[in-house]
């Protein structure tokens, strides 16, 4: 592939190894949409994106994994329900739970897949207003000690893109209380809850902090000109980069 060519066919493996040397896998399922965007975010953060195919049975030697957004298998049964059974998901679940604690970020459909796979508690149901919604969304970072949020300040408000149809986070009260008590609510909606999520939850983490899932899309807020709009100008927002910078700092620099 010549250098002035964007990959036309979802093959975004970059030949030049990124500065950090970190390799971050981006999983594609049939129906995944934001894989190329997630790969771009990984690259802009300074790591090397590695394409992972749902049907493959090996993680290769990636240092972290992003499960991107989209409509895997059309989301026809339930969002993430079929994708969860892919061979690649078994590898990811094992690695995330192993002593090595593989960092895993699930974005939107990726978050839904992580809940279906029981790596994260709760589930997502249809938005309370029943419509797909796309907007620039403000979030508050509630936990900045996870692998994916350690470059943010606690309580920091960030603006990223939100777009989903089944984004209403639900869990029973006991689970919700436990999440709050353990600091596992990683991100909350600010200003307006766009889908009726319990307790304004936008994203959560597992107890160990290596697995994070969120409905909004940080990978769509990484490049000035193409992200959410801020006071600085049209589409200028890059607040999402912090997620990718966070995992890099963990991988390259030990913990923060």
């Amino acid at each position: 592939m010549s250098s002035n060519e964007i990959p036309l066919i979802g093959d975004y493996s970059t030949p030049d190894t990124a500065l950090s040397g970190a390799r971050i896998g981006v999983v594609s399922f049939p129906g995944t949409l934001d894989d190329r965007d997630a790969a771009r975010a990984v690259r802009l953060a300074g790591a090397e994106p590695v394409a992972l195919w749902h049907a493959d049975d090996s993680l290769g030697d990636v240092d972290a994994v992003v499960i991107p957004g989209g409509f895997s298998y059309g989301d026809y049964l339930r969002a993430g329900a079929i994708a969860r059974f892919a061979p690649m998901m078994s590898r990811i679940v094992d690695a995330a739970n192993s002593d090595a604690r593989l960092p895993v970020l699930g974005i939107c459909n990726g978050f839904q897949i992580l809940t279906e796979a029981h790596l994260l508690p709760g589930s997502m149901i249809k938005n309370d207003h029943l419509k797909f919604i796309c907007r620039d969304q403000v979030l508050r970072v509630e936990n900045n000690s996870t692998t994916w949020t350690n470059q943010y300040g606690i309580g920091q408000e960030i603006t990223v893109v939100l777009k989903n149809q089944d984004g209403q986070y639900v869990a029973d009260e006991k689970t919700l209380d436990a999440l709050e008590a353990e600091g596992q609510v990683a991100l909350r909606y600010v200003g307006w809850n766009p889908n009726g999520s319990r307790r304004d939850i936008a994203g959560i983490t597992n107890a160990a902090g290596n697995v994070v899932g969120l409905m909004p899309h940080p990978e769509h807020a990484v490049e000035a000109g193409y992200g959410p709009t801020t006071d600085a100008g049209t589409h200028t927002g890059t607040d999402g980069l912090g997620f990718f910078a966070s995992v890099l700092s963990t991988l390259v620099g030990g913990t923060k």
Binding site: Y73, G74, Y76, L77, I82, F85
Partner: protein, 84 residues
């Protein structure tokens, strides 16, 4: 409280993408006994008090007009279920 169950299925001649996706996934999970799957909807309507003939008739009309889209779906069942 008694409930009325309304079952709605995609018409047989209409493509059912949902069912198609599931039928593709089943064998991969080791379920090999099923040659076809169709996905429809099940509604449970709660009634306060007794289910009269009139209320059942209402449920049937609601099933045909609101709960199903007659162009692509059939109401396959409307029945009263006793209190759980």
């Amino acid at each position: 409280m008694p409930r009325i169950v309304v079952d709605v299925m995609p018409k047989p001649e209409i493509l059912d993408p949902q069912g198609k996706a599931i039928v593709g996934a089943l064998p991969r999970l080791g379920f090999d006994a099923f040659s076809g799957v169709r996905q429809g909807k099940r509604f449970e309507l709660t009634v306060d008090g007794e289910v009269t003939e009139e209320i059942l008739a209402q449920a049937r009309t609601a099933a045909e007009t609101l709960l199903s889209n007659p162009v692509i779906e059939d109401v396959v069942n409307v029945e009263v279920v006793a209190e759980a």
